[in-house]
Structures are given as C-alpha cells and as structure tokens.
Amino acid sequence: MSSTSKALLTGAIALALGSPVLAYDFGRPATPGETALWDIDVRPDGKGLPPGSGTVAHGQQVFADNCAACHGDNGVGGIKDRLVGGQGTLASDAPVKTVGSFWPYATTLFDYIHRAMPYQAPGSLSNDDTYAVAAYILHLNGILPADGRLDRDSLSEIKMPNRDGFVPEPEFDPAKLFRTK
C-alpha cells in the first residue's frame, strides 16, 4: 500500500479507536446457549464435532432419500457435483476433483454437509444422519469399509487420500505465519 493511502486508512482507524467509542457498550453479550445454536464449525483436529454416530449402511439410506436426486445414485452421474471417484486424475489434463480424489480432510465433509446440504434444506439432517451420510460418501470412495461407522473420534482420525496434496502459498502459509512475532 502506498504511504498516502496507509496514512489515510490508519487515520480513519485511529479516529475510531481513539474515540470514546470503546468506553461505550455496542452490541450485547452473547449467551452460551444461543452461541451453541450457531457454533457449527468443525476443525481438522475434530474440535467442533458434535456427539453422535452413523454407519455406512444407514448412510446409504440417508443418501438415497436426501442426496441422490442431485448427486446421482452412487455419487456419480447426478445433475450437480460428482462426489465419488477421480483418484489418480489430478495431474492429468482432465482432473476430476471429488471428496475422494481431492478433499484433504474428512472433517470438512462433515462440516460442509452439516452446514450446507441438502442444498434446499441445509441443517435438516440430524447429527447421526450427517455422520452416516458422510460415512457412506467415504465408503463410496474406498475410504471406509462397508461395515464402517463414524463418530467424533473416528472421523478426525481418517487420513484422506489427498491429505498431502496441498502446498500453501508462502505469504499465507499457516505453519509459518505469525511464528516470527
């Protein structure tokens, strides 16, 4: 940023922070009960995963009832994103990026289904059904056996096939950022 724009901007923020605003209450305290309603994010270490569990077998039913219409019977050939296959294609001229071939963390699958799917009614699946349907998608990708079951502990322990397929941009590498401060 140029020095003039920096001066302008820090000027504006200094004004904000130097003003009496901080001595006043803006907003209101969040109560733990209401925060829990919205606090849905899940991290790779499993933090944020809710209690509950689900099997591949049950997930097959959940998928048929809630997902197959858009994603195809086995997560392939639907009208929306393909969820299965593509392993070994990432370095080809026609890479197929799916949960199985591309996604680095199984926790992201739970987080995404829980927050965003099914597309027309996100949040409508119970935690058990979400574990189950995630287990089924992982099974379709060869990551869980047919008698597999997922819960908070087992989900964060899964090593996805493309776990090591990502290289951070040096400027924002989480392993290096903020370490020198």
Binding site: A16, V21, D41, L90, A91
Partner: protein
C-alpha cells in the same frame, strides 16, 4: 488532487506519454476515415433532431434510459453460458459498456453459492466470538452507530478469467472473459474496532467469517497487520445500503483479497488459532498445478488488466481508435499500464485516469491509429510493488492449465482484416 478524468482526453497535458495532441487528434480523425467520424450518418442535419418537449413526471427514483441496453449475464462456469438462471453460479459485469472505474451497484458482478437470501435487517445479527474476552452480538443499527470507514475497492472472483485456461472461444466478449471484477465504494465498521470491543485473545491469529446464506459460506482469514488495518464490515455500497446480491444487510470487505473472502450476509466472526479448512479453502479456491498438487491460501488477487474497447466481438474501422480498459492489483496501486498494438512486439505507456486508488480499478486509455492490417492488441499492468502482469506463455508454464482460479495472464484481442475483434490466447 486534480481529476484528470474530468478533462476531455484530447485536451489533457500528457507529457512523455503516447497520447495525441489536440492538433494531431483532429488531423488524424479528419485525415483518415476514423471509425468515430465514419460512424456518423452522411446526411446528418440538426433539422432531424426531435424538438424539445416536456418530459415525464418526477419520480421517487430514477431508471436508466430506455435507450440504454445494459445488463449482467448469468453464467455457470467455463464454457457454460446461456444457462437457465436457476443453474447460474455467477453474473458478470458488462465491462465493455461501462465508463470510468466505479461499477453501478446493480451491475456489480455477483457470485452466490445458494441464491440471494432475503434478509430482514431488523432480525439480522452478527455474532463475534471464539478466543475473545467478551463475545458480543451486534444488530445492524449497532454497527451503523459506530465510527465508520469508506473505501473504493475492487472485488474480484478468483474465477475471473477462467474461460481462457485451456482454449480461447473467439465469440467471447470482455464481459464473458473478465466480468467477474467490479469496483464500488463501501462503507462500514473497521474490523479492528470490533476486535477491540470483544477483546480478542492475543493467541488468536485466524478468524472464521461465515455468511447467513443457506450454504453458510465460511472462510478462514489470517489476521495479518494489513488485514487488521484494512478489513471492515460494510453496510453501505455506493452511498446506499448494500444490495441483497452483495450481502444485505452486512458483508465483510477484504481489500485486495479473493472475492470469496468478502463474506456476504455476514452473520458470524469467530476467532481461533489456526485455519478451519472449510470446503471453500480446500475443495474450492485452491489451484491445481500441473503436477497434481494444489496451491492453498493464495488469498491475494494479482496484478491484472484488460482492454475493454476495442474488445471481443466488436468491429472497428481503419483510422483513429481510442483504446481503453481497466487495471487493478490486490497488492496496491496501479503504477503503469502498457499497451501493444503489434502483437506484444512493442509497448507504449497508456494514460491513467485519476484518481489512481490502491486496490481499486484504474481506467486507462491510449490513442491508436489502426492501419487496417490484421494485428493483435494487448495491455500489461504493473503495480506500485513492482508486480508485472505475466504473459500467457510464461504464466501457463508456471501454473499449468488446471488451476481454474487466479488467472491473470495478459488478455490478447486479435483484429482481422475486416476489423473484427476476437478473443485469442496470445
């Protein structure tokens, strides 16, 4: 600061640059059959101009002239055009039909992941929590009552330019190739102020920003000094409340960073000590290289530029042509834009319309006399950090053709012997 863009171009002092003087301009346009002159009807007479008449009643708000046909185009991804609106994933700005550098609010490009929610501002809330001393809930009026910043910045979808990774469709306009970038003035509360109010833990260097759309789009944001100083939660867009497509009632503004980080319909900011690895920073918005590895956290938008006129599918005639376009960089200000009218063999510096703002689009222009022979025209931007927009061959050599996002290679337009302008790779 004098605003040079207020002065007619042919009268501007332009020392050391390539613009024509007024005398040369007239000589050029009268001496040759320039398209501007030739474009007029031969038997033009003032007698044909309709008489003055009393107009329509004054209204509560003004509409565009019925003679102006201008709109965004909804599309679905590289090569997926003319789609049913229910299948569209983005809507592109008509860069070829706009002037200056500010995009009208209703023509700002849009990328939405689960439609445009209809949010009642009275019921909307922003939860700020996580590694903080005092988690708070804000309503929209709370935010509007606080000290504010206003800033003119570009927002660009990381998919902008994605039509040209593998091949060039010669029927594309600049709206198709580059319409996923726009510049507006945004107004809101500095992120830093919200951070002070909740008392962020010093050990927290990452923030999750989450939208109130059905998809709950969420991204992890590193709290670098630059981001802490520049990010803000906006409720104003070009002087009015945000448009629903752009995040009404509130959104995050992250000057210079991926469009997807500027979370719309913002409803939650959570502080933590590491990234969350959401779907949008793993499965999406990561760039697959030729070797099959993907670049992650490439959060900044690069130095870029495109000639908006003459551009894809336009027709030009021999003679005077004003070349104009837009340049922008997530690193800072545009320092210069060079234009080649001979297929990247030689370059001339274009004139930049003032003001040139950091992380905002800058309008550039240059006079050109087209000799009627087939050629290629291309622009190249350099920002004030010294970053130069790459030519396509070296760009592809470095990234491969599978990255999908962060395409900022030079855009070449070819001109054939009858003056047809077309999208080509290089």
């Amino acid at each position: 600061m004098t605003n040079q863009s207020d002065i007619p171009v042919e009268e501007r002092g332009n020392p050391g640059q390539s613009g024509l003087s007024r005398r040369n301009f007239i000589a050029a346009s009268t001496g040759l059959a320039g398209s501007i002159v030739a474009g007029r009807a031969a038997a033009d007479s003032l007698a044909d101009v309709p008489p003055r008449e009393v107009g329509a009643d004054l209204g509560g708000h003004s509409e565009r002239s019925k003679y102006v046909k201008i709109s965004r185009i909804p599309e679905a991804g590289p090569g997926k055009r003319n789609v049913d609106p229910s299948d569209a994933i983005n809507s592109k700005t008509p860069l070829d039909k706009l002037f200056g550098s500010i995009t009208p609010s209703d023509l700002h490009y849009e990328r939405s992941h689960s439609g445009v929610p209809d949010l009642d501002p009275v019921k909307h809330r922003l939860l700020v929590h996580g590694m903080v001393r005092k988690p708070l809930v804000f309503n929209v009026d709370d935010l509007k009552a606080m000290p504010s910043v206003s800033r003119v910045v570009f927002i660009e979808c990381t998919g902008n330019g994605w039509e040209n990774w593998k091949k060039a469709d010669e029927n594309l306009t600049v709206q198709n190739t580059h319409g996923l970038v726009s510049t507006n003035e945004w107004t809101g509360v500095p992120l830093k102020l919200l951070i002070e109010l909740v008392g962020k833990d010093r050990g927290s260097n990452w923030m999750l920003a989450e939208g109130g759309d059905a998809a709950g789009v969420a991204r992890s944001i590193p709290l670098t000094d630059e981001i802490l100083n520049e990010a803000f939660v906006a409720y104003g867009q070009n002087g009015e409340p945000l448009r629903p497509a752009h995040g009404f009632p509130i959104r995050l503004i992250m000057p210079g960073f991926e469009g997807n980080l500027n979370i719309k319909w913002l409803r939650r900011l959570k502080f933590g000590d590491r990234p969350w690895m959401t779907r949008w920073e793993t499965a999406r918005y990561t760039q697959l290289e030729a070797n099959g590895k993907a670049i992650q956290f490439q959060l900044r938008m690069e130095t870029n530029s495109v000639i908006t006129s003459p551009s894809g599918t336009m027709m030009i005639k021999p003679g005077y042509q004003r070349i104009t376009g837009l340049a922008w960089s997530g690193h800072g200000k545009i320092a210069k834009v060079e234009i080649s009218t001979d297929d990247a063999k030689s370059w001339k510096e274009a004139q930049l319309n003032l003001p040139v703002l950091p992380k905002a689009q800058t309008r550039f222009q240059m006079d050109w006399i087209w000799d009627g022979k087939p050629t290629k025209i291309v622009s190249r931007s350099t920002d004030d950090k010294g970053n130069v927009q790459p030519d396509r061959k070296s760009f592809i050599a470095a990234t491969g053709t599978n990255a999908l996002f962060h395409y900022n290679a030079l855009q070449t337009w070819s001109v054939d012997e009858i003056g047809r302008v077309r999208n080509v790779l290089d």
